[in-house]
């Protein structure tokens, strides 16, 4: 490969130009840091749509700052002629392609993420069996916080191949499901109606969203799924607990026994009166 054009382009770089470029980069880094810290903090104080909009603006602002920095730094360092640009970006591409392949892969996936938006800050997603709320979207990776308060870092590059499930997709509507396994000998219609009442009367339920009670047979008995939307996605664990407790109380009152889930085998945990 002929490296002469690159050497010529870089030969004109002076120490003053390097200092100027460094100053621009440091300011840009500080700005990005500020946006990444301040905006989520402000969003934490808001509720509803303003919160989602503010969170969604963080990665876009960061990309904007990076692009502006590139546009400012390159002319400081080299004369922005067509030959110089081809030479510099060609060399850069080669270096990224060989030495930092995975890193570049994630960076590019991160840019694609901003365009396709498979997830945004505040979304509840599941990737490779990990479920949590997206708390940060970096240039290379996203961070989710699981329901057990564990931070999981997911490189954007994973998205090229992995299946991603998004529970609320940029909105604050997140369907929750409370699963119940019941012994089969009971009045299904009666119990479904009571479960529906239990969902509608739960103070955490968004009654203007669909409420469903689905029942299917399984080898342990009957599998009930109580599906509804909580007031806010963050209340999902409390909501599912509340629905389960209310449904359990109804089962007890109706004398319908609950059985353990498939992972624990067939083991009655309550025999109705």
């Amino acid at each position: 490969m002929d490296t002469r054009p690159v050497r010529e382009a870089l030969a004109s770089i002076t120490s003053q130009a390097i200092l100027e470029a460094l100053a621009v980069i440091v300011i840009a880094a500080l700005l990005i840091l500020l946006v990444q810290k301040l905006f989520p903090a402000l969003a934490g104080k808001l509720s509803g749509k303003p919160r989602l909009y503010l969170l969604a603006s963080v990665p876009l602002l960061r990309l904007l700052i990076i692009l502006l920095t590139l546009l400012m730094v390159v002319p400081i360092l080299v004369e922005p002629s067509f030959e110089n640009m081809v030479a510099i970006f060609g060399a850069l591409g080669l270096a990224l392609g060989f030495a930092l392949k995975d890193y570049a892969n994630s960076l590019i996936a991160g840019i694609v993420t901003l365009y396709e938006m498979p997830y945004r800050l505040g979304d509840w997603i599941e990737v490779d069996g990990r479920y949590g709320e997206v708390r940060a979207i970096g240039a290379r990776a996203a961070e989710i916080v699981t329901l057990d308060d564990t931070v999981v870092v997911i490189p954007h590059g994973v998205l090229w191949n992995a299946l991603l499930a998004n529970g609320n997709d940029g909105t604050d509507n997140l369907m929750c499901v409370a699963d119940l396994y019941l012994e089969p000998d009971h009045d299904v219609a009666f119990l479904r109606a009571r479960f529906r009442d239990a969902i509608f009367t739960c103070p955490l339920t968004r009654t203007y969203q669909p409420v469903q009670v689905v029942v299917s047979g399984c080898e342990w008995g009957l599998h009930y799924r109580l599906k509804a939307y909580p007031l806010e996605p963050r209340a999902q664990r409390r909501f599912i607990s509340e629905l389960t407790a209310r449904a359990a109380a109804i089962c007890e009152e109706a004398g319908v026994g609950m059985v353990a889930g498939p992972g624990l085998g067939y083991r009655p945990i309550h025999q109705g009166s």
């Binding site: 808001l46 239990a198 968004r206």
Partner: protein, 393 residues
């Protein structure tokens, strides 16, 4: 009843200026961001130094509407709807937002009054028996507030569910049902196929509000009351239809928008803004002779005023309590605990926070707590922002 009754689906929010909408949205966001940074003051503050009217004068110039007069108006409106073919049901349902005065008005009607049982939690069979005992098909009846007949609890739905099914099938005789808009919203979600063609009082636009306030101020004698803005002397009252050329303020339109066309909220705000003196006597004097000799009052602008706000310390319990109070049009403490799922001490703590913020107050001599008209705009906004099902008003 300015504007009369309209089908529920025709109700529209009073118009306001874009400028005011943007300012209001920005103010809300700033208030949320400032929470925890600046000292919090959640109670009502007038923020002007002008002397307010005495309680006696207020009772004369801005009295509560007479329920009997409203009841007459409701009767006339329903008769008009019937003649126009706009009321296909034997039992009309009158849905109204809180503080609209419909409950009190319906209770004044010359019909058999249906009151709820002491205990509204019952089984479906017991609920059917209870309604059978009310002999709904025997003469005219009125049920002033449906929200009194249920509890948001699995055992508290049967009475209203049974009643609505009878009304839907026209098996409830000739009656009239009043229902709080929050309660109605819940039941339309719970029974999505319910179609009772409810009617509702038309929203108070700026023009209707001006006429209504002038009507209230005029009293039985129909005297003319003049009200002008305290800072620029522009007119608010009397209503602009007596042939005189006056410059009118946009106060009534802004008040209608701030109160979302709700008469109770608008009246509470109006009472807070009435003053006995203007800011600048000299500036107001040149216009004084145009008042036509009636009594003259001054109106402080809406802007330097702080309405009660939901404290930032309010947790989910406070939201549940506020929502439950609106769903049931007021509840005592023990029932609040029952419907919110909170333990009673926990509910008491959350309630105390709301009482201190002047959002909630004990209602009359009873044990019920109710959301207050001045706090209602903040409460509705708070519940809406946190995903609670809110009414359409």
């Amino acid at each position: 009843m300015p504007g009369g009754l309209v089908p529920l689906e025709q109700w529209q929010l009073p118009e306001t200026s874009v400028h005011r909408t943007v300012r209001s949205a920005l103010r809300d966001i700033l208030a949320q961001l400032r929470a925890g940074v600046t000292p919090e003051d959640t109670t009502f503050r007038s923020l002007d130094a002008l002397p307010a009217l005495s309680a006696r004068t207020l009772a004369e110039v801005a009295p509560a509407p007479d329920p009997a007069t409203t009841a007459d108006a409701v009767g006339r409106q329903l008769a008009r709807l019937t003649r126009g073919g706009g009321r296909p049901r034997r039992v009309p349902v009158l849905v109204a937002p809180p503080f609209s005065g419909v409950r009190e008005a319906l209770a004044c009607l010359d019909r058999r009054l249906l009151t709820p049982p002491d205990e509204v939690s019952m089984t479906p069979a017991a609920a059917a028996c209870w309604w059978d005992r009310q002999a709904l098909t025997d003469g005219d009846w009125v049920l002033p507030e449906l929200a009194d007949f249920w509890l948001r609890h699995p055992s508290g739905l049967a009475l209203v569910r049974e009643f609505l099914s009878r009304v839907a099938l026209d098996q409830a005789g000739d009656g009239l049902v009043g229902c709080s808009s929050w309660c109605w919203t819940f039941w339309t979600h719970y029974l999505p196929e319910l179609h009772l063609a409810p009617v509702t009082p038309a929203p108070l636009t700026g023009e209707r509000l001006t006429r209504w306030l002038a009507f209230l101020a005029g009293g039985a004698s129909g005297r003319t009351v003049t009200a002008r803005m305290s800072h620029d002397g522009l007119y608010v009252l009397p209503a602009p239809d007596d042939g005189q050329e006056r410059k009118y303020s946009g106060f009534a339109r802004d008040l209608a928008a701030l109160s979302r066309g709700n008469p109770g909220v608008a009246l509470a705000l109006w009472r807070q803004r009435l003053r006995s003196h203007p800011e600048d006597e000299a500036a107001a004097r040149p216009l004084r002779d145009e008042s036509g000799g009636g009594r003259l009052y001054w109106v402080a602008p809406l802007e330097p005023m702080k309405l009660p706000a939901v404290p930032t310390a309010a947790g989910p319990g406070a939201g549940h309590i506020l929502h439950a109070l609106l769903l049931h049009d007021g509840l005592p403490l023990d029932r609040l605990a029952q419907v919110t799922g909170l333990a009673e001490p926990e509910a008491r703590v959350a309630l105390s926070l709301l009482l201190r913020a002047e959002l909630v107050a004990p209602a009359g001599a009873g044990e019920d707590y109710r959301v207050q008209p001045l706090g209602y705009p903040a409460v509705r906004k708070y519940l809406h922002a946190r995903g609670y099902p809110v009414d359409g008003f």
